[in-house]
């Protein structure tokens, strides 16, 4: 069988509501398929690595199914990968949720919010502004007041500022988008973030996998 069109592959590892990512892709006319198959992920043209739920159990599933290894291989091949929420968190070395070792694709740790102001709630749930800290093709056109939908209790803490692409504020600045080379990942949910989120998915479908 010859693939005539490049499709986007959504890594399916029972991590919450993956169908919403697929529906959002459908809405912007991006062909997307789910797969639980490690080989399909390893050889995919373009990957969305979503995730909702518990980091430790997600990571255990990824390892058991061979999907963790497949993601490492795809990344090494230069495949564009978009991580979302727990998918983003698992790109780092380690998560405090468990704790558990992540994929180690980007240096850093996923930490639990420790907020001194009792008026600030955890999980950080709702709409918040996302400020681009440096240009990236996936953040193109992002306005200063554009908001995205978040729902998480842990945040991304990359070791190196070069991997930080955007920040948001919840009792202080926190990193909400990371990247390097062909990897990009958001703590927020583009699939639940109205037209700005859909636009990000659309840009990812066209992205050549270079950071600038």
């Amino acid at each position: 069988m010859v693939f005539l069109r490049r499709v986007l592959t959504i890594v399916d590892y029972n991590a919450g509501n993956l169908r919403s990512v697929k529906r959002a892709c459908d809405a912007v006319h991006v062909d997307a398929l789910f797969t639980q198959d490690a080989e399909t992920v390893a050889t995919a043209d373009r990957i969305i690595f979503p995730g909702v739920g518990h980091a430790q159990s997600a990571m255990q599933t990824l390892e058991r199914t061979g999907l963790a290894q497949a993601l490492l291989e795809a990344t090494a091949r230069g495949t564009p990968v978009l991580g979302i929420c727990v998918g983003a968190q698992l790109m780092l070395d380690r998560s405090e949720e468990g704790p558990v070792q992540g994929l180690g694709l980007i240096a850093g740790v996923t930490r639990r919010f420790a907020l001194s102001d009792p008026a600030l709630k955890v999980p950080h749930m709702g709409w918040n502004r996302v400020r681009a800290l440096k240009p990236h093709p996936l953040l193109e056109g992002l306005g200063e007041d554009d908001e995205f939908y978040f729902v998480h209790s842990y945040y991304l803490d990359p070791a190196q500022t070069q991997n930080v692409y955007a920040a948001s504020d919840h009792g202080g600045d926190f990193c909400c988008a990371i990247g390097r080379d062909n990897l990009f990942a958001t703590q927020f949910h583009p699939e639940k973030s109205g037209r700005f989120g859909l636009a990000l998915l659309e840009r990812f479908a066209r992205w050549d996998g270079t950071p600038c």
């Binding site: 809405a27 999980p123 749930m125 709702g126 939908y149 699939e191 639940k192 037209r195």
Partner: protein, 259 residues
């Protein structure tokens, strides 16, 4: 800073908007999906569908409605009404609902909250509580009592105690609906909302009594709510969602104004 949310609630019966709600745009009468799409385009932050269907056949229609909505609107939405089991919750979640709301069934079976939180995550498990103002007593020291079945049955359960317990059982968010304020359009029950918001560490959605934009402002500031639920004031066409948000933004609240 997290924006304060404006949430609209739509009552659905047998897959259609409940007749008790009058709509201005005649072409939209009866179709919850069209109404949801309209509010989405107008900047709504979140939606709640409350299924008031009595029959189980009607409940299957709700699944279709949820799937349809999920393919057309890309903001979070929750579904409540008649959720009695983890299976109910999981089905709605898979159909595309971001969150599910449990109410009466959780009062009768509190562990339902924990089971739902374990199955679909605390962030997707919302405890919705109907609250009646009562005389303070040994059973209701806060002066507020939980009622179920749309306010028809008093449970002798203190509202503040139930809110705290709901959080401990795993709810990720609370909807506090004042039976006294509901339908009055005279404003939210500020005292109740503030009391509960101050007692829990999870977000609180105020519900019942919204009639004017000031009411939203009051409950989001003085009432310490994270979100304000509106129904008739937008359904009847008195206010547009975008108008409410502009008003709140103009008064200095963090509000999502670009959409």
């Amino acid at each position: 800073m997290l924006s304060k949310r404006v949430i609209a609630c739509l009552d659905v019966r047998n897959g259609q908007l409940a007749k008790s709600v009058k709509f201005v745009d005649t072409q939209d009468i009866g179709d919850p999906v069209a109404k949801a799409a309209q509010y989405y385009a107008d900047g709504l932050d979140e939606l709640v569908f409350y299924d008031i269907t009595a029959s189980s056949e009607g409940r299957n229609i709700m699944i279709d409605v949820v799937e349809d909505v999920a393919s057309k609107i890309f903001i979070p939405f929750s579904v409540g009404g008649g959720i009695r089991s983890v299976e109910d919750a999981t089905r709605l979640r898979l159909a595309g609902a971001e969150k599910i709301n449990v109410n009466s069934a959780a009062v009768q079976d509190p562990e339902l909250i924990t089971r739902c939180a374990q199955a679909i995550g605390a962030q997707s498990t919302v405890l919705s509580m109907d609250v009646l103002r009562v005389d303070k007593s040994a059973a209701t020291p806060s002066g507020y009592e939980i009622v179920i079945h749309g306010g028809r049955k008093r449970m002798g359960l203190d509202a503040l105690e139930w809110a705290r317990r709901g959080e401990a059982l795993g709810a990720g968010e609370l909807v506090v609906n004042s039976i006294d304020a509901d339908g009055t359009r005279d404003g939210y029950e500020i005292t109740l909302t503030r009391m509960i918001a101050g007692a829990v560490g999870i977000p609180v959605i105020a519900s019942g009594g919204a009639g004017k934009p000031e009411h939203l402002y009051d409950v989001l500031t003085e009432g310490q709510a994270d979100a304000a639920l509106v129904a008739s004031m937008v359904h009847y066409g008195d206010y547009r969602v975008s108008e409410l948000k502009q008003y709140l933004h103009g008064r200095g609240l963090p509000i999502r104004t670009r959409y």
